[in-house]
Structure formats: C-alpha cells, structure tokens
Symmetry: C2
C-alpha cells in the first residue's frame, strides 16, 4: 500500500531548491518513490490519499540539540541568574529519575512531532529510557548519554556516563531509527581523561560525540587560565576534534577556533533561542558557513529554549542574524530553512537519507497548513514558514514513511494520556521546585 500526498506546494530543499506548485508525492514503505504532479502518476485504488489542501510540504525538521527529559523544568526560573549551577543541577540530581526521564521524553517527543520535527539529537541522563520513548513514539533519534565530573541522577560516581554510554551504544546500535552516541557534557565539566575515553568509545563504535562547547563565559576563563587556550584549541590538543563531533552552541569562537572546526570537519548545533534568552550571545554562524562548517539548529531543552519546535528558532534566527550582520538581506528565509532541514542532516552525517524531499530518501515529511489567519497571503513559502508560521500550523507529519501526526493530532497516541502519566511522575519534582521558588532561590 502506498501513501499519496496531493494538493501541496512542495519545497524540496534539494540541491537545486526545486519547488513544485500543486505537487504530488508518493511514499512506498519508508521511502519517497515519486515527486511531481498528479497527472504524471498512474494511481491505483489501494493507495492512502492525504489531501494537503494547498498547504506547504517540506522535509521534516531536524533539531540538532535538545534535552528531551527536561520538560519538567519548563517555565521554572526562566529569568534567574546563573541558574544552571545554582539551580538546575541540584534539582536535577535530587529529582530526576528513570521513570520521570522516560515520561518526560515521551511528552517532549509529542511536542517535537506535533511541531514537525522528525529527527532529534538529544543528550541527557537515563538515555536508555529516552531510547524506549523514542522507539515507541517513532521519531528518528540520535541519543547520547551524558558524562560529567560529578555524581548524577543516573550515576553514583562522577563520569559514570562512560560505562552507561558503552552499554547503551551496544544495545541500540542496530535500531532502525535510533543512533546512540556519546555526550560529554562540556569540556569544562569533564577532565582530559574522560574526554579522551569518550572519544575512544565514539571512534570504536563509529558513533557521533556531542558536547556543549564555547557556551559559557566561565568556560572560556577556565581554559584560558589553565591551558592558555580556547576550549576549541584545548579539544584540538587532546585530539577531540573530528568529523564525529557535533559541538552545541559555539557562541564564543575566535577566528582560529573557526579555522580549527573547519579543518577537522566538526559540525555545529546552533541554539539561537537558548543562547539569547540567557543573554550569552549570537554565535558567528555567517562566518562558520563561509568556512563550510555544517550548522544545524537546535532548541536546547525546555528549561532553556522553552519550546521544542524549530519554527520558533527560524524566526529568532532571522532577526538575530540580520541584526548582528546589520543586513536585512543576509540569510533570506530559504537559507534559514536549509539550516533546519538539509544542513541539520549534514550535521548528523545523514544527508544522503534525510533533510530534503528526493526520490529514494526516507519519507520524513511535514505539511504546514495555510488556512490559519496568520498564513495568508503566501507569496513566498519560505518567508511564510520563517516569518508567519508558528508550531501550531503543522498539520501532518511523516517519519520514515509512517504518518505520526494528522490534522494536528498524534496518530494512534493520546497526548492527554501521555501528559497525565508525566504529571503523575512529576509530583516529587514539583514539590521540590515549589520549595525552591518559595525560598526565592529562583
């Protein structure tokens, strides 16, 4: 049985940026088997027909940096200074547990799918639980267990993630939609030894390694004082820079850092919403792209970026980078959507399989409806997505050929049930969080 999507304006995001008015796409199994117009395709009776009602069909969006299980932190202490160390780490260590990680991840995946995100790169704790949630929900997921220099919610010992990660990779490495990887938290929250070990595991299994990099002012200060290097230079010195590395944030980069990232073919996950809300800065994306560094977009966790959709990042990206470059014509909408689709796929080394609408590629597809009041007129579909759309305009989503969202609702999954499960497992967390609020720690 084939699935046919008709009556859509297709933006393929292929190399030629092909667009098809009143387009028609056929999905067979996991893959796209036809792209074009209805009249050029011989239909048979048994197909499933999805009418796009004049909406925009685009590739599924790719969220290259997130922390799914941090949903419980959303709207908690958003405007609080230095809250990562003062607040988030302690609450996480006290209240995060296996079940909460699982139910939170499941809820977060609902938000991703409902907003048109079909592939995610997640790093957190209890990643085995996150993998179970991803598997159940049918999202394409890169999942990395975190390694950090103190005991955590899932390890009594510092650096316990190293052991966890290796078992985790062994367990999930052959899954169709899940790619396990390893995730040292950051250079400054690890030591040289743990970073080298993590990199060895990444090399051994040929899986990505991802970490926060050049995100914190105190991170820069630390490496300057300890090694007289930038964090990037430090990673080079211990041979951590490679084409397996996905570096998140990279806000504070010197020109030499950029050259190093280019030289070693490092990839970058850019989180404009998280980076600016926390008043850190705007990563030099324009320069990175000039140096052929693949840059994808990420939301960060719900504690930092609040929402997990990529559309919000598009709009923030546009305004921040245009202003930063003092040029309204830099990063036209089309280029911004590239970052959230095909470029995100490049960041994950998966651009031969996902990131654009092409025959033979996996059917990770999104229909954005244009009936809502904010979506008219559409002179330029890219512009409409970047500047007019919000996450609630996503109507239909396919992952790997399977329809997971239709008419703005999850298919065969009940959001309310998933939310209630999460609520039931959030009670201790909520209690502690409220105590901290009362103590005015936040």
């Amino acid at each position: 049985m084939k699935t046919i999507i008709k009556n859509v304006k297709i933006i393929t995001m292929d190399n030629n940026m092909t667009e098809i008015e009143n387009g028609f796409v056929v999905i067979e199994g996991e893959n796209i088997s036809f792209i074009g117009h209805m009249k050029d395709y011989k239909e048979d009776d048994k197909n499933i027909i999805i009418d796009g009602y004049g909406g925009i069909l685009m590739p599924g969006m790719i969220n290259t940096h997130t922390h799914l299980s941090m949903i419980p932190f959303r709207s908690l202490g958003d405007d609080c200074k230095d809250r990562l160390r003062r607040y988030l780490f302690p609450l996480e260590n006290e209240c995060m547990n296996e079940k909460l990680a699982y139910h939170s991840a499941k809820y977060a995946i609902c938000e991703m799918l409902l907003s048109g995100v079909t592939t995610i790169m997640d790093m957190y704790y209890f990643e085995d639980e996150v993998a179970k949630a991803s598997d159940e929900m049918g999202i394409r997921a890169f999942l990395g267990e975190t390694i950090i220099n103190f005991p955590t919610c899932d390890s009594k010992e510092a650096f316990g993630g190293l052991n966890y990660a290796e078992k985790f990779i062994e367990k999930w490495k052959n899954h169709n939609l899940i790619t396990p990887f390893i995730a040292p938290h950051a250079p400054n929250t690890n030591d040289t030894n743990s970073l080298i070990k993590a990199n060895e595991i990444s090399k051994k299994y040929n899986v990505p390694i991802s970490m926060h990099l050049s995100e914190m002012d105190y991170e820069l200060k630390y490496f300057k004082e300890e090694f007289n290097k930038t964090p990037v230079e430090y990673l080079e010195s211990i041979e951590l820079l490679s084409d397996r590395l996905v570096a998140a944030h990279c806000i504070y980069l010197t020109d030499n850092d950029i050259k190093l990232l280019e030289k070693y073919n490092v990839k970058v996950a850019h989180c404009i919403g998280s980076n600016t809300k926390s008043a850190k800065g705007v990563a030099p994306v324009s320069k990175m792209l000039q140096h052929n560094i693949p840059v994808g977009l990420g939301t960060d966790g719900a504690s930092s970026g609040n929402t997990l959709d990529i559309i919000t990042q598009f709009k923030l990206f546009a305004n921040f980078h245009k202003l930063e470059n003092k040029d309204r014509s830099i990063f036209p909408a089309k280029e911004i959507i590239k970052l959230g689709t095909i470029m995100g796929a490049k960041v994950l080394n998966k651009d031969k399989e996902i990131g654009s609408i092409e025959i033979g590629k996996k059917a990770d597809l999104v229909i954005i409806e244009t009936n809502s009041v904010n979506m008219f007129p559409v002179f330029d579909p890219y512009s409409a997505i970047v500047y007019s759309a919000n996450a609630s305009n996503i109507d239909t989503v396919f992952v790997n050929g399977k329809c997971v969202v239709k008419n703005k609702k999850l298919v065969n999954k009940d959001l309310q049930t998933i939310k209630n499960d999460l609520k039931n497992h959030m009670q201790q967390f909520e209690q502690k969080a409220k105590e901290q609020l009362e103590k005015a720690i936040l």
Copy 2:
C-alpha cells in the same frame, strides 16, 4: 444577563500584580463587575458561563503600532534591501485602494482578535475604511490617517492626509470603541509646515498624534545635515513633542533625546520584531523606562512584522533585550507582559479604562489555553505566556464585554468569507507584485 468566566488562573496586571488561582470573573455590560473566587459570588441562573478549563486569564493585549491594511504585502520581498522606498511605496501607490484597504483591515482585525489583541493603534491610508472594518469587527481601535510629502493611494496631492484627517476625526470622534487621531508618516517624510498643521489638528480635537520617529539611518542623516539636530530635537524645536504624541520605533535615541521624550511626556510604541528583522537595531527600552517614558509594544504592519499578534513580540522582546543588556534577569516575563497590557494602555492614555483586570474597567479579556503540548508545565504563568505560548494558544477573547473569539474561532464572523472577500480584491495587487518579483526587484 451577566457573563461569568470560571476555572482560570487570573493575572490581573493591576498595580499589585494580583494573581488569583482558580479564579472567577463576572462581566456586566461593558465592564468587569467581580473578580475573585466562585464561592464568594452568588450566581443566578441567567448567566452565561465560560469555562476556562484551567487556562490563564489576562487583560486583552494592546498593539500600539500597526498598519492593518498592509496584509496583502505579507511574505512579499521580506529579505530585500531598502524595500520601503524601492518597493513598498510604489506598489502601495499603484495598487492600494478603498476596497482593498477595507477588506485587508477586516482580515487583519481577525488576526488581532484571534491572537488576543483587543486594542490597536493603526496608521495608514483610507482610514475611514479601516474605521468601518473596526466598527464591524468590534475591536477597540485608535485609527490615524497618514500625512506624507507625496501623492498617495488616497490623495492626489502631497499632504492630502491633512484634509482627510480632519474630516475623519470629525466623523468618528464620538464612537464608543474608535478613537480617531492624526498620523504624519515621519519627520523626514513631512515638512515643518505639515507637521505643525497636523499637531494643531491633534490639539484642536484633543486626539493623539502618532508618527514613525528615529527609525531610519537616513532620517538621522537628513536632520543632522539640514538642522544639525536629531529627529527628536527637531520635533522639539517645532513644538511637536507633547503628551499627545505616540512615537513609533525610536530606535536611534541619544541620551538627550530620551530626556526630551521624558520632559514632554511623549509615549513610545516599540516594534522589536520589525526593527530587528530589518536589521535596524534595538531601541533603548530599558533606559526609556528608567526615565518613566511609557513604552508599549507594536507589531508594525504585516509587511514588516509579518504576524500581528503581541505574543510573538513578547518572546522577541525578551531575547533581544536580555542580550542587549547582557543580563538574563533583566525584563522578567512579568515585566514584558506589562508592556503589552497596562503599559500599552498608558501609551494610549487609556489606563484608567483598559490594560488590567480590575473591577469597573472595560472587559477586554483573553483566555490562553494550557492544554496544547507547548503549554505544560506552567510553574509561572507569565513565563508560559512569554516563552512557551504562541498566537494559536489564544482560546477566548472579550472586547468591551463582548465575546469576539471562542474556542479559537471568531464569534458570529466567518474567517473564510472575510478571506475570500480579501482575495477577490487582491487580484490587481497580486498581479503587480508578481511582475515585480519576476523583474527580480524583490
């Protein structure tokens, strides 16, 4: 018959920032007559009951700068350099007409209402048509006819808006929801004479005067060269600064400009989305507020800010001003929502009637639902609105005691019909716009 809203978390935005859990509000006629808990109110049978299902009840949002009738320009040439002079003005002069202005305004008001905006300050051409649309749709509207130094779509002569405006003010000055005003386009697109005349009309009828101010780099250059003054200093020299003036944008202000705005009790409409997308800059809002200058939020027209909802501006405001001030704790969510509600009311000199939920004030109210996936958890309702919500989370809207949006749909109005009417009147515009696109002017 009274209307009762129950089962809502109320953020009143009153002077004490009163919040009520599981709150209850009663509307009688145009006004709010009770705020509190259900148990403290004696219900009778004839009331209309609105169940908020645990959502957030807030004051209607106030959009202090917009151009309703510019809807046809949405998604057109967004990333084009100097498009105002090169492109928008010519297309406007050629294709904007009475009927298009009317149908566009009507559509734009749908978007405002559906996104929880209950009061707008609009300036454009054919304001009589905009007033008719506002009256029909039941929005609270400040409407100003534009005066500019060249012939326009509604005047064969330069400065024709002066005549139009006076008639327009005469006609609408006693309307319950509409406040007519006068709107010189900008200091540099008028001459001293027209500015003085416009100000005389504003004074004569005691209505606001609003204009774009300190928005363009070439505007600054012009006044420097011609008068050796800033635009604000120039306006002072011709006695244009007063408490009737609502100045839109005010991006490029010197410290002396800020002192002048404070001295003359000028109000400011801040359009963060429009100003940053066009790579102009971030207005010094923190400084203005320190100087007790009332600052409201505006979307600008759909050609500049694309969407007309204030929630998008909240998020952009947060991230831009936090980064600009290098401080994640500046402008906590609560303070940002003030700008879009009670402070907006101050900008319009209407803070005794609207802008907060208080007994005796007009019932301009909004329920934001918290059932959508992006709206859980809600530890802090302000935070949830600023960082998590989008325009599509608006569920119910009251203007002046009347329910205009319920279950995310317009009450007694059909969006599809209004859109079709607009489409029918957009044909010539669309044709011309596409020709310009083909000539690659955009």
